[in-house]
């Protein structure tokens, strides 16, 4: 009976769906691959990316902005205009880690791995190159995360239940004026701007009695909350030898540290393995996840950034309307006289909501044919839908140009269908030489759709949907991409002393024209077991080369394209892209050498590798003279390199009956340099910040002006603005790079690089009898951060509450202050441009996780449970850094050009968590 159900369910699942498990099966665990068993580390992150902190090679920056995507990087960044995030396989289903659509709000990227419950995951392999995943080909240039979910195992039904409850706390102590000092600051500002004393005296803001301006409101305190983290996960595993299954249900809920931000996930997963006959094995996966989240705009749009507005809003204002009798009403206060929104309206009324549904299914078969031939095939289907909504009412929130109220909605979906087939044979050539060979083909189709609409200025704040208002913008986009991969693979092992593997991957993509559609991605590696035979060798040496690509080009640049545009209300059309039929993927060649030593058996493993990764044919906008009057023409031109050392260490320091002590550590260094850009520098901007790709510098370096000081007096001024008029005393003195006496865009320079020089982790796992202690430390050295939030708190261009440091601004020649410019409304001298003043060193060492656990094992078999583990853990307990912002783990965008720009998103904060895990 059971068998019938398994078979039926597997075929029903198969109708939908599948997976290439053979990729793992054919590749014996190698020293190249870095994976961990994930049982021990349970960070409070909702995403499986939280587990990457304990892995080598990969740099992770999670965000306290709950539900936002972590920023990942494997062996540097190697593209300007395409994605630089790794490709993710979840049980063989490929997933683009970064979305290709623009973000719905300024910088919030919903985590596309959020659907995956970390408790379902059994293994994550970090493949920094395509060497071990030859099928990746044209999308492997940024590395691959190969994630496996748990599968059933032989034996009676095992039930695992885990529950976690945690609290997340952030101390938002942004330095700012209190009510009284804010008033004296404003008084000084107004009088500097020439308001006569008499007028100042009568100004209502400075009245000692006006109830509207005599409050003491701690805005930050009003919008923050203690974030609750809850996670419950139930897992059933079992099997009878012919059929093994794993069934899991999980629920996760995490609140952010700002009111009304949260993330919720409900997911189920059913994995089944079934032996039809001794030689035929089928496998099925089926999972469904629903996640939803509420979030705020913590990006470059400071007008609605709750943390910024709460810091910048005058503390003497009240949360609610004050009537003429001085009584507080129930109605929330509107936008104040100084032009600031009510932070309460931003957290309570302005709503950004996400809803995400994903279904994945895999069905596959492995068939051991006669005489060491094997055939495998799988089919997988994946579909998800993401619905994003924003409701922005008028009360208490500043207008967005002519938009008093707005309701926006975007619904997007991605559909993916993939088939793989593989024929393999292994055998012996001679007594001492084994071989393995395989042919593989796969076909994939991918489709993505999005519908977006925004209506504005509904009659009242009551309409939270698109029902009322006028259409402000609407769009309907669709993208389709087809991919075919043909692959041949071979491996020879001689005497267990030398392994030689090689492959050729030929991949064709519909993203390119027929001239450039098919590309070759070969790879080869040789492993020499220098000292001792495998697998008990003591020292081995590996040499590898592989070629991968980046083919996520979505513009169809191989076609001449006519784009729509409006003129005078009519639909007009122009030639927006000039075809380049020869455009091909960006190509990355990786060379690596790695030595692994295990001098004391499995007690100590030490490895040291070096990689050199060179990416050429970067897709860049072709520089044409502007007189040609065309704007779209892309070509392959540009080279960037990444290189570094990768060091790994793991040791079983003590291993006895009662005592166990393990340690592991990794360090990766990174040197990134743009080698050539024939089409010139490329700049990308967000807010006021610009990232640049410039020959000789790291990709995405901060670009702006270098501030040398402040002009102390008019006599001191020796520079002119671009129009030839002199700066004023109190303006920043900017380095005049070209020495023409004028400061113009030609005087911008590279101010810092957002990429670390080295990063890594140290973890230790200690247990004594039933007690255990786990600690994880992460570090990163040398990455600069552009602290935009801090700049905003020192800008003095409007009447925002500021950092008390602005009291040391230049006020007059007799009070030249100590380093900050003069205050000037609307900043006529451009003192607030992106400059070296706000570039900080973002190096840090963080105690990422500390867990204390206690095990209760049942002595007798008739006990209700087998094992219970109770643990208490703390995340982000200590951070050692000189960075002055919230958190040196900055989460801005998964964009190579705009990394490490800190807009003041919530930091990760300290999370204390209590959990238990029971096995029955």
């Amino acid at each position: 009976m059971n068998k019938t159900i398994y078979i039926l369910s597997s075929f029903f699942a198969g109708l939908l769906i599948t997976d290439p498990l053979f990729a793992q099966q054919s590749d014996a665990p190698s020293s190249l691959q870095d994976s961990i068993n994930l049982v021990d580390l349970n960070p409070s992150s909702i995403s499986v990316t939280g587990k990457l902190y304990a892995l080598p090679k990969v740099s992770v920056m999670e965000s306290g902005n709950v539900g936002a995507s972590s920023v990942l990087m494997l062996r540097g960044v190697n593209s300007i205009n395409l994605s630089t995030s790794p490709l993710v396989y979840v049980d063989g289903i490929p997933l683009r880690y970064t979305a290709s659509r623009p973000t719905f709000l300024s910088t919030y990227e919903p985590d596309r791995l959020g659907f995956l419950n970390p408790y379902d995951v059994t293994d994550i392999s970090v493949n920094a190159s395509g060497l071990l995943i030859p099928k990746v080909g044209g999308r492997g240039a940024n590395g691959v995360l190969d994630i496996k979910t748990e599968r059933g195992e032989f034996g009676g039904t095992k039930v695992d239940f885990s529950a976690n409850y945690g609290l997340n706390n952030v101390d938002y102590n942004v330095p700012r004026f209190d009510a009284q000092s804010m008033k004296s600051y404003l008084w000084a500002r107004f009088s500097e701007e020439g308001m006569p004393a008499q007028q100042l005296d009568q100004h209502p803001i400075f009245s000692a009695t006006d109830p509207v301006y005599n409050n003491n409101t701690d805005w930050l305190d009003l919008i923050r909350q203690r974030g609750v983290f809850q996670d419950y996960h139930l897992k059933l595993k079992g099997g009878d030898g012919d059929a093994n299954y794993m069934f899991a249900v999980g629920y996760t809920n995490k609140d952010g540290t700002v009111k009304n931000t949260d993330f919720e996930r409900i997911g189920i997963r059913f994995n089944l393995d079934y032996n039809l006959s001794p030689s035929i094995k089928i496998f099925n996966n089926l999972s469904y996840t629903n996640t939803s989240g509420h979030y705020k705009d913590f990006g470059s749009d400071y007008a609605v950034h709750p943390l910024y507005v709460a810091s910048a809003k005058s503390p003497f204002m009240a949360t609610h309307f004050i009537n003429p009798n001085g009584e507080q009403s129930r109605i929330m206060a509107g936008v104040d006289t100084l032009g600031f929104s009510n932070p309460l309206a931003l957290v309570n009324n302005l709503e950004n909501k996400n809803q995400f549904n994903r279904i994945d299914g895999v069905m596959g078969v492995n068939w051991a044919l006669a005489e060491s031939w094997s055939l495998s095939s799988d089919l997988s289907v994946s579909y998800f839908n993401l619905s994003e909504k924003q409701y922005r009412p008028a009360l208490g929130i500043v207008n967005d140009l002519y938009r008093i109220r707005q309701n926006s909605q975007r619904s997007s979906s991605e559909f993916y269908l993939n088939w793989n087939g593989r024929l393999a044979k292994s055998g012996k050539i001679s007594e001492s030489t084994n071989y393995e060979g395989a042919l593989q083909a796969s076909v994939e189709t991918y489709e993505e759709k999005a519908i977006y609409g925004r209506k504005i200025n509904a009659g009242t704040d009551d309409f939270e949907t698109l029902e009322q208002g006028i259409v402000d913008s609407a769009s309907n986009t669709e993208f389709r991409s087809n991919l075919m991969t043909l692959m041949a693979q071979g491996a020879i092992t001689w005497n267990d002393r030398v392994d030689i593997d090689g492959f050729i991957n030929v991949q064709g993509s519909s993203n390119f024209g027929s001239n450039a559609r098919w590309n070759l991605y070969p790879g080869a590696r040789a492993t020499v077991y220098v000292w001792g035979e495998k697998p008990q060798n003591i020292l081995n040496l590996l040499l590898g080369y592989d070629r991968t690509g980046n083919h996520e080009v979505r513009g169809f640049y191989h076609y001449n394209q006519y784009y729509p545009v409006n003129y005078f209300g009519f639909g007009a059309v122009y030639l927006g892209n000039v075809a380049n039929p020869d455009l091909r993927p960006e190509i990355t060649d990786t060379y690596e050498i790695k030595a692994t030593a295990r001098p004391f058996g499995n007690r100590l493993q030490f490895n040291l590798g070096y990689y050199y990764k060179r990416t050429h044919d970067l897709i860049t906008h072709k520089a044409v003279v502007k007189e040609l009057g065309i704007d779209g023409l892309f070509e392959n031109a540009g080279t960037v390199e990444n290189k570094g050392l990768e060091l790994g260490l793991s040791a079983q320091l003590i291993s006895s009956k009662d005592f166990n002590w393990n340690m592991s550590a990794s360090v990766s260094t990174l040197k990134n340099k743009v080698l050539s850009l024939p089409n010139g520098d490329v700049e990308q901007s967000i807010g006021m910040q610009t990232g640049i790709a410039k020959e000789g510098y790291a990709l995405g370096s901060f670009y702006g002006y270098k501030v040398l000081g402040v002009f102390q007096s008019e006599a001191d001024v020796n520079l002119n603005k671009s129009d030839g008029t002199p700066y004023r005393a109190g303006d920043y003195q900017i380095e005049d790079l070209n020495g023409d006496g004028r400061i113009s865009t030609l005087d911008r320079q590279v101010l810092g690089a957002p990429l670390p020089e080295f990063f890594g982790h140290v973890s230790t796992n200690f247990s004594y009898k039933k007690w255990g202690l786990i600690a994880l430390i992460n570090f990163s050295q040398g990455a600069d951060i552009y602290n935009s939030f801090k700049q905003q708190m020192h800008l003095m261009r409007d009447y925002a509450n500021q950092d008390p440091a602005v009291l040391t601004r230049w006020a007059s020649e007799s009070e030249p202050g100590s380093g900050l410019s003069r205050a000037a409304t609307n900043d006529p001298s451009g003192n607030g441009v992106a400059s070296s003043l706000w570039v900080e060193d973002g190096s840090y060492v963080k105690l990422k996780n500390l867990t204390l656990h206690y095990e209760i094992t049942s002595g007798k078999s008739q006990h209700f449970f087998k094992r219970i583990r109770i643990y208490f853990s703390a995340d982000n307990l200590f951070t050692w850094t000189n960075y002055t912002g919230f958190d040196p783990e900055v989460n801005s965008l998964n964009s190579p050009m705009l990394r490490n720009i800190d807009f003041g998103a919530p930091p990760l904060g300290k999370t204390y968590k209590l959990g238990f895990r029971a096995s029955f």
Partner: protein, 505 residues
């Protein structure tokens, strides 16, 4: 049984893949949000949409036209206490090549779209046999005329600029040093090669002749009555696109620059006798700015529609002093200059509508006002049309041409017609020595300054005035905007005709 099911599964997969791969369409995915070449330039609708697309780059740049034609001249100065440097460069006549507002890229975008339209327009006749030959000609002439207007703008504004007369988007044909005609793909040429291929005119006269010849050939091709392919154009398109009266007015203006006054006078007759154009009434005059267009008054303008496509320009930002409306108050009228130019006797609608004084602030009212009292455009809805030619152009050009033909009476009459139409009383012959050319030039250019204030024309009027008299009136007038030492510096600088033009990066 089980084995059978499984093998059929595999079979289906393999079959599926071979079917997919054998199908050549597997890799031929076309963009969803754009039209590819194979599907475009097939019908008259395509042609019409491409024609509208030619105007779009210009409509994004009207704030630059205000800077080029007015901020540099005598009637406009900076509004901000501490002016924004890039704006101030125009006001103080010290423009750097890096100034983003001195970038002519959008004009060349229009030129490129015009060139492509001219090369494709006759292909469509082969595809769409409903299309009448006269309409095809009209589309061709529209592109040619718009290109001529672009070169005319470049010619009077920039120091050096290349002439591009064919579609270079995909390939470029040129004659190499050996005298062979070479055809190369644009995508294969480097920036330096492209720079080497750009054809710079020998002198400005060459461009003048090209512009003049182009507009002359257009005159016979454009239909007189806004009817293309027997379809009457909607009102916005009549004024937002080029027409025969615009061509005639433009031809007259070019002819005056070239000293061909007889021809200029004759061309002016075309719009003047056309019953779609007249001087209109003083009451309707502000409608040219408050509405998208004004029948009779309007001739050719760059227009914006907010209600369904959210098109705006930056004129509100540049001229409004209301920060909450998005006004940056970059530019304002130079009070002492406009006070001497505008008439304060009687009620000249242009005096009450062109600018306004609010307390300390004098503002350019044309682009932000909705009536001549107080009403202003709503915040961030800057949709005032940018006038390129208006009916009044024809009347005042006629006066200018006839003056140089020594037909003083006619010149005098045409000026009086304009004055009367705007609410002023006629000049009497005994009031003005109307047979004195110098006096009359002053009268005509003053009248033009009132009529076309802040419409990006003053600088070029001063250039023309200088050319017609042989005296550097531009230097004289523009320097009068300043005081003190700057006044003399600017005067000395502008005495050099070379410094009248903007530098090119």
């Amino acid at each position: 049984m089980k084995k059978k099911l499984l093998s059929s599964h595999i079979l289906v997969c393999l079959l599926g893949s071979s079917v997919l791969s054998s199908c050549s369409g597997f890799f031929e995915v076309e963009p969803y949000n754009a039209v590819v070449e194979d599907d475009f330039y097939k019908t008259q609708q395509d042609l019409n949409a491409a024609a509208l697309g030619m105007y779009e780059p210009l409509s994004k740049d009207v704030h630059k036209f205000l800077l080029w034609g007015d901020a540099r001249a005598d009637m406009v100065t900076t509004g901000q206490a501490e002016p924004t440097p890039y704006i101030n460069e125009f006001v103080i006549n010290n423009v750097s090549a890096q100034n983003p507002y001195a970038d002519y890229a959008n004009i060349y975008a229009t030129i490129a779209r015009c060139n492509r339209q001219m090369e494709r327009v006759f292909d469509v006749t082969k595809q769409d046999d409903k299309l009448l030959p006269k309409s095809v000609n009209a589309y061709y002439a529209e592109a040619l005329l718009l290109r001529a207007i672009c070169y005319y703008t470049l010619l009077r504004t920039f120091d050096t600029f290349p002439i591009i007369r064919s579609d270079y988007a995909e390939d470029i044909s040129y004659v190499d040093e050996q005298g062979n005609t070479v055809n190369r793909k644009t995508s294969e040429l480097t920036v330096n090669e492209l720079k080497g291929l750009l054809q710079f005119p020998e002198d400005k006269q060459e461009v003048w002749q090209m512009v003049y010849n182009d507009v002359l050939s257009v005159l016979g091709m454009l239909p007189l009555n806004f009817q293309w392919n027997n379809f009457s154009l909607p009102a916005e398109e009549r004024y937002g696109r080029l027409s025969q009266p615009t061509a005639a007015t433009f031809a007259a203006e070019v002819a005056i620059w070239l000293g061909e006054f007889q021809t200029a006078s004759a061309f002016c007759n075309s719009p003047i006798i056309n019953n779609q154009h007249s001087l209109g009434t003083a009451g309707a005059w502000p409608n040219q700015f408050t509405g998208s267009y004004a029948a009779q008054h309007s001739m050719f303008l760059l227009g914006y529609r907010f209600d369904n496509s959210f098109e705006t320009n930056r004129l509100q930002e540049f001229t409004s002093n209301v920060a909450t409306d998005g006004g940056k108050y970059y530019l304002k009228p130079a009070s002492h200059v406009i006070n001497t130019l505008f008439s304060y006797e009687n009620t000249d609608i242009r005096t009450t509508f062109s600018f306004k004084v609010f307390g300390q602030d004098t503002v350019i009212w044309k682009y932000i006002g909705l009536d001549n009292v107080w009403s202003m455009r709503p915040a961030h809805k800057s949709t005032a049309s940018w006038q390129i030619y208006r009916s009044a152009d024809a009347w005042l050009l006629k006066a200018l041409a006839d003056l140089h033909l020594n037909d003083y009476a006619s010149a005098f009459n045409f000026i009086n017609m304009v004055r009367e139409a705007r609410g002023l009383i006629k000049y009497l012959p005994e009031e003005i020595n109307y047979t004195d050319r110098e006096v009359m030039l002053d009268v005509i250019f003053t009248e033009r300054a009132r009529e076309f204030a802040f419409e990006g024309k003053r600088w070029y009027d001063l250039m023309l005035w200088s050319k017609l008299t042989g005296r550097n009136i531009l230097a004289e007038k523009v320097s009068s905007k300043y005081s003190g030492q700057v006044k003399n510096e600017v005067y000395q600088k502008l005495l050099e005709e070379q410094s009248w033009y903007l530098p090119v990066q």
